[in-house]
């Protein structure tokens, strides 16, 4: 009985805390850096681009591996563990991701293979194939689904970037699945050498229109401060990041109007 209660509470909480997780509950969130900026990242290249806009992978030119842990509202059952790897390969960059949300009685896993490609000096496109599974203890059905996502990133000028990302675009009346369709569009600019700011809109078949805005400021050499705001649940975010030689350490925090704070931590190793 307690297992059933835990499952019910888990589902209720993740459905009522979208902004704190950076989007739809079926989409795993990843990256403490992105969390600190309120997930304004569709136009920004980073190690965790496989989760946000695969086109940005095209600008990754190092072999890297990273781990992320996100915990919602201090409940260990609502934790997401994520791992990713990026591999540069000539004009393209490849990525592989794995994510695990929940606990043994209710868990969602996602694995994906992605590829980002520079189409020109100002344009890049990316695509990812995803495999999702949702497993629930007891007599409940387990779900397995295959889908795809794709993105475009382009430089409108030297310091203005625009990003577009579509997740699970196939019309749901054609292919039955539980996953939402999500469209994200954003623009970002380097206001100075140390300050980036961006704004992003997201709409999904499961939620209302969400507008996000965020910034990243290099307060000292290799030390970043971040902040953001999302209209969904009026969620504020903030975060810190530090690059120590080949290791990047990031922390991110997001507030939820009613449920509390979601915290994230990332560790990225730049191999070469």
């Amino acid at each position: 009985m307690s297992s059933l209660l835990k499952i019910s509470v888990s589902v209720l909480l993740i459905f009522s805390s979208l902004s704190a997780s950076g989007g739809d509950p079926y989409r795993p969130s990843a990256g403490a850096r992105e969390a600190g900026m309120g997930y304004v990242c569709v136009m920004k290249n980073s190690f965790w681009s496989s989760f946000h806009n695969q086109a940005a992978l095209a600008y990754n030119n190092s072999y890297s591996i990273g781990f992320n842990y996100e915990n919602r509202f201090g409940l260990k059952e609502l934790g997401t563990r994520t791992a990713a790897i990026t591999i540069p390969a000539w004009k393209t960059s490849l990525g592989a991701v794995y994510s695990y949300f929940g606990y043994p009685d209710f868990r969602r896993e996602m694995a994906g293979l992605s590829c980002g490609l520079k189409l020109s000096d100002v344009l890049a496109a990316g695509v990812q194939v995803d495999y999702f599974s949702e497993k629930t203890a007891g007599e409940y059905d387990n779900k397995y689904q295959l889908t795809c996502e794709m993105g475009i990133l382009f430089h409108a000028s030297e310091n203005i970037r625009l990003g577009i990302h579509i997740f699970n675009p196939v019309p749901k009346s054609l292919v039955k699945n539980n996953l939402p369709s999500i469209l994200r569009v954003g623009a970002g600019t380097d206001l100075s050498k140390t300050l980036f700011a961006g704004v992003e809109a997201e709409m999904s078949t499961r939620s209302k229109l969400i507008i996000r805005t965020g910034f990243e400021y290099e307060a000292a050499k290799k030390f970043w401060m971040r902040g953001g705001f999302s209209t969904d649940n009026n969620s504020f975010s903030f975060g810190l990041g530090y690059l120590a030689k080949v290791v990047s350490i990031d922390l991110g925090f997001s507030t939820h109007e009613k449920l509390g704070i979601t915290s994230s931590a990332s560790l990225i190793f730049i191999i070469h």
Partner: protein, 660 residues
């Protein structure tokens, strides 16, 4: 596996190299799109959007040749103000030839925003097709087929396929065309002898001398401000585009497929020095619901049926039920700074019109067999002030009055005011004066607007229209009113970027269904915000993003959408593709949102998005050679039914265009 295949296809599409220049018709200005969406949302006049889009498509197919055009030809760009028409004609005349569109930006009264609006509809070569000495035949044949496979309605008489075919020719000073159409559910051939459900043909002569134009067959016409005769676009249709305001006389070949809003007969335009004369005679049939008088063998017209759909036995009975004979004459004299005109018209129906008398709102509706209208109008442009007006009256001395003024205190600012007063009881069957109703009657209102180039790259336009309806209307059991306000800001930070935002506020009144007895009126207030950005990455790739948000009170229902457009033209093959992905969510039908879509030529799509789901389409155009072009469109709307089930609404369209 399907997602994988689609992913691969899309990825391949975007990784092939780009490069040719876009056809201009793919760059419709946002304001034109907004007007189309606004008209589509107007339930009271569903045909107005068809007329508007068809005018634009006609203009795109036969663009105005600025360098060989006089003032009259430039007025075909109906979205320009009279100031702009005159300035452009004067400039073209004085300089001899406009070499680049960037030259137009520098003409007083023009700016980057206006030129962007004009681009799809102008050409800078000075080939005069019409006046060419050689009689060379040019033929165009367009055939459109469209179907909705997901529509499983089997109650209609015919197939679900929509068929439209148009043939046009020009040969020196002669031109003509034939159009046939079958709507979904209609039989293709009906009647005795069997003919297409809609069949239209015309032949025209266009000359330079005293005989300016003669049309035999189907035609449309407009005299003055349109309160007497206007089967084309309604004036004053946009709050933030002042170019649609003033008067214009024209007769033109009818190429539209609106089955009940044109003349069939003969029309002519003569030019005798400063005097212009237009004559028209029409004997056309119209759809109507007929009634029969008790104790009499004769029937009468209960109401006119304007939808043009004949897909059931009941609707077929309405088809061509009444004959309407129309005569019209229009005289326009051009004094130095003032043009004055008079117009007379008369409609004679084969049966008397007797509207239902049990409805109070119908008390002032037309009754009888003959309707005569007499009009006087003027237009005066003095320096920077344009005054125009029209007064029309019928035999029972019910009148329609319009008075407008436009002035341009500086090259960067244009201000307009337009007052209208259409008495209840004034009826014009082929008229359409400036205003909000489909009929020119029972409406008083004043409209004011301005356009302002606030800074080098920032354009602001705003307008307000206040309406009063002194007699009852459909769903208004008391005298009612309404208001529209709109502000639009356009920012053009760079050659390749367009950013636009608008806010619209609308108040309408309808009966409150909750009240007992005579219903009280309740105000429906809608506020909507639109934001859009378009980016031309290069000559081959365009991205467009749009966000809409709408709130309707008192219900508090909300609607929102986010859409992404991508237009891509391949480098090595003459193929262009349009792709849209749109997610939307509205609480109810009141908060529905309209989105203009690129479509086949002579067809359009502005779906009303209500509920929750996605709308996407893919359209491809293949210009096979100079002689032929193919377009294909597949659109799909997934509409949420329950948490995990979605209704599928899709449509397939195909077009073949041949030049010979």
């Amino acid at each position: 596996m399907k997602p994988l295949i689609i992913t691969s296809v899309l990825f391949l599409i975007f990784t092939i190299d780009p490069v040719r220049v876009f056809g201009q018709s793919e760059k419709l200005s946002e304001i034109i799109i907004d007007i189309a969406e606004d008209l589509a949302s107007d339930d009271s006049d569903p045909e107005s959007v068809t007329t508007y889009i068809e005018h634009l498509q006609d203009l795109a197919e036969n663009p105005v040749r600025i360098n060989s055009a006089g003032e009259e030809e430039i007025t075909r760009l109906f979205f320009l103000t009279d100031f702009q028409v005159k300035a452009l004609a004067d400039y073209s005349h004085s300089t001899g030839k406009i070499i680049s569109v960037f030259e137009i930006v520098n003409i007083p009264g023009f700016n980057k925003e206006t030129v962007e609006m004009m681009l799809p509809f102008i050409r800078l070569d000075n080939n005069t097709r019409i006046y060419s000495d050689s009689v060379r035949w040019r033929n165009t044949l367009i055939t459109n087929l469209s179907d909705r496979p997901s529509n499983d309605d089997t109650s209609s008489l015919g197939s679900s396929l929509k068929i439209l075919s148009k043939y046009k020719f020009t040969a020196g000073t002669f031109s003509g065309g034939v159009s046939v159409e079958k709507d979904p559910g209609e039989k293709f051939l009906t009647g005795i002898p069997p003919l297409p459900d809609f069949f239209s043909a015309n032949l025209a002569y266009t000359g330079k001398g005293a005989i300016h134009k003669i049309i035999i067959g189907d035609f449309s016409a407009r005299f003055g401000l349109g309160t007497n005769i206007n089967t084309g676009i309604r004036t004053g249709l946009s709050l933030t585009a002042p170019g649609y305001m003033s008067a214009k006389n024209e007769i033109r070949q009818y190429t539209s497929t609106d089955e009940n809003n044109f003349f069939r007969g003969m029309a002519a335009e003569f030019s005798l020095g400063n005097l212009g004369v237009s004559l028209l005679y029409s004997r056309n049939v119209s759809d109507a619901t007929l009634g029969s008088l008790s104790g009499s063998s004769g029937g009468y017209i209960e109401s006119f049926y304007m939808a043009g759909l004949h897909n059931t036995s009941t609707l077929i009975l309405k088809k061509d039920a009444v004959t309407d004979v129309t005569y019209g004459i229009n005289l326009l004299y051009n004094f130095n700074n003032i043009k004055m005109g008079i117009a007379l018209s008369e409609d004679r129906f084969s049966l008397p019109v007797i509207p239902a008398t049990n409805k109070l709102e119908a008390v002032f509706d037309f009754t009888g067999e003959t309707n005569s209208i007499y009009s006087i109008y003027y237009n005066s442009l003095v320096k920077r002030i344009l005054l125009y007006g029209e007064l029309s009256t019928n035999k029972s001395f019910r009148y329609a009055f319009v008075q407008g003024v436009s002035f341009r205190p500086s090259d960067r600012l244009t201000i307009n005011f337009l007052y209208r007063n259409y008495e209840a009881g004034y009826v014009s069957f082929h008229g359409k004066g400036p205003g909000n109703s489909s009929t020119t009657g029972n409406e008083q209102g004043i409209l004011g607007n301005f356009t302002f180039e606030a800074a080098r790259h920032i354009f602001i336009s705003a307008g307000c229209d206040i309406q009063n309806f002194s007699w009852l209307r459909y769903r208004c059991s008391s005298p009612s009113g309404g208001m529209k306000q709109e502000i639009r800001v356009k920012f053009l930070p760079a050659e390749k970027v367009t950013i636009e935002a608008s806010f619209a506020y609308r108040v309408t009144m309808i009966d409150d269904a909750q009240t007992i007895g005579i219903p009280e009126l309740t105000e429906i207030i809608s506020r909507s915000i639109k934001g859009s950005a378009r980016y031309y990455l290069n000559d081959n790739l365009t991205f467009g993003t749009r966000i809409d948000f709408k709130v309707v009170d008192p219900s508090g229902s909300r609607g929102m959408l986010l859409l992404q457009d991508i237009v891509y033209r391949f480098r090595h093959v003459p193929v262009t593709i349009w792709f849209r992905y749109c997610l939307f969510k509205t609480d109810d039908w009141d908060s529905r949102l309209y989105t203009y879509e690129n479509d086949l030529l002579n067809s359009f799509s502005i779906p009303a998005l209500a509920g929750e789901g996605s709308r996407s389409y893919l359209m491809a155009k293949w210009e096979i050679n100079d002689k032929a072009e193919i377009r294909f469109k597949y659109g799909i709307t997934s509409l949420k039914e329950t948490s995990y089930t979605f209704e599928n609404r899709n449509e397939i369209k195909f077009q073949l265009k041949v030049f010979f």
